[in-house]
Subunit: 322 residues, 2 copies
């Protein structure tokens, strides 16, 4: 188990779940929480999980300054809040802190590196990059009440270094997750695990919003939307290829079949939309589209999805504000 | 002025306006009306027009049977009601009736021909086709109360034969519109006038719905949506070309500029969507997409717009029904 001080920043349904699992297995985990701070301080964290329920009374903080320096930071922040990274990392990340982001989409490692540099934690981008590990989490969990997380399915994690090949620390962190009961594998290429997740996330998160409250069943049962999801996946494969990541075309059929078995599943973006929360449109659509554009790869459907979801996101915020 | 009996089928904001103009100029115009029948029978039609207001007490009928055989039928029906064409044409169209459709999009002339054949008005599709004239109307008009039409801008019409080149009757009908104060020109190719109108209709009607209450100003002021509208226009030009219609690429810039000058204009599809009415998704998007597919022309954005608007249309009807 990881020996140092672990801080969880963005301890929502994802961060709180993984942090709690690590703490239960003996790690020294500290939680930075906003809205749930008071509830957790008084009553602790309650995890209702398919792997077994458990309670925890962890150290919890209301600000990054109170949390203070950590050896490992677990970033579970919504990507729409990435602008807060400099402020969150200034008191918590030193030049020796390992920062693991389990956020969605593209551009988060870059945002973290930029935050470290702007905070003068390190002097340059290449040095900052070496502190960062990226991960993709395949987890179905929801915060159902203050301090209460419901974990309904999956949970496995893939890790890769932002800069260079896996190191001994990458494997140690993976091993810590495994000891905490979480499947975790180390992969050679971060771009590869990020794009692999986008093959599903782009069509099903994007269409979940653009096709108006369309859960996975709605998309798969409508022949035009199903064909569109399929073609979007094809564009993601092309964009990934241009970014140096070769994903076998068979993944499309495989994901379609897995999605069939999920029933009427709502993507996180659809749920955010329904609840009037800001959508992770830049990380999941904007940045992938921009990378494809820079590589000169035509991705008309991804571009269109980006344009529409971006507009719906703006509309949604106006609706909620008014 | 046209000498025979004229019947207006689908006497809404478009049909009632043009029919009233023809009647005022001396034509023998009879109106088939559903919801406004009683109001018009009692109080007549009231046209509030930028060309001058006028009132009219025309013959009005509640059913196609009462309307009876006509020499010229003016079809202003919403394309979503095309399934009613056989029933509407059976008592009104003989083998000598000229049928002018001013409906939106593609596939309406075919639906009328099929209705004539299924009614045994004529024995085959080629014969039926010769009775049909297609027209595109550039008209801003609204039904603001039962029997009251507000005409706010434009009004000109382009006509072309469904089958073959313009004939003397095409010019006679065009001349009748001109005598009624409506600009009207005869064109050589129906496909050409239909696709030309779609270059605007597909992006601005489609995005008006898919981009969630996006009027023309919203679309033009959002850089991603503006680029998307531009690229959609490009796809329509490609699809038109594959259908034998060559439209100069300059039309795109020209339409963009004209649309700028329209301010925050709501397309008919957006207005239908807001009012929970069925959308003309098949005529404006479905049929154009199918023609492009048959020709083997890739139109990824048009296809995607079709898939999304079709879904939103279904959703909208469910919402209204429930």
């Amino acid at each position: 188990m990881f020996k140092g001080r672990i801080g969880v920043i963005g301890a929502g349904a994802l961060g709180a779940f993984y942090g709690a699992c690590l703490a239960r297995a003996g790690a020294d985990v500290h939680f930075l929480m906003r809205s749930d701070h008071e509830a957790v301080r008084q009553h602790g964290l309650r995890i209702q999980s398919i792997l077994g329920d458990f309670d925890l009374r962890p150290p919890v903080y209301a600000s990054a300054r109170e949390l203070g320096p950590c050896d490992l930071l677990l970033i579970g922040l919504k990507t729409v809040d990435n602008a807060a990274l400099p402020e969150l990392l200034a008191p918590t990340a030193t030049a020796d802190t390992i920062i693991l982001t389990l956020q969605n989409g593209l551009g988060n490692e870059e945002a973290i590196a930029a935050a470290l540099v702007s905070n003068r934690t390190v002097c340059d981008f290449p040095t900052a990059s070496k502190q960062i590990i990226g991960g993709t989490a395949f987890l179905c969990s929801n915060r159902i009440a203050p301090g209460v997380i419901h974990h309904s399915a999956h949970g496995f994690i893939r890790l890769a270094e932002f800069c260079g090949r896996p190191r001994s620390r990458t494997h140690e962190i993976a091993q810590s997750f495994v000891e905490a009961g979480i499947e975790c594998e180390v992969r050679e290429s971060l771009a590869s695990i990020r794009w692999e997740k986008l093959v599903w996330n782009i069509p099903f998160n994007g269409l979940g919003v653009a096709a108006h409250h369309a859960d996975t069943r709605v998309i798969l049962e409508d022949p035009e939307l199903r064909a569109l999801a399929w073609n979007l996946m094809g564009e993601v494969l092309e964009a990934a290829r241009a970014d140096g990541v070769s994903i076998p075309d068979e993944l499309r059929a495989d994901l379609m079949q897995k999605t069939e078995s999920m029933g009427a599943y709502k993507s996180s973006m659809q749920i955010d939309y329904e609840n009037g929360r800001p959508l992770e449109v830049e990380a999941l659509l904007g940045e992938p589209v921009r990378r494809a554009r820079r590589a000169g790869i035509p991705v008309p459907r991804m571009e269109m999805l980006f344009a529409l979801v971006r507009r719906l996101d703006e509309q949604n915020r106006c609706r909620i504000r008014s």
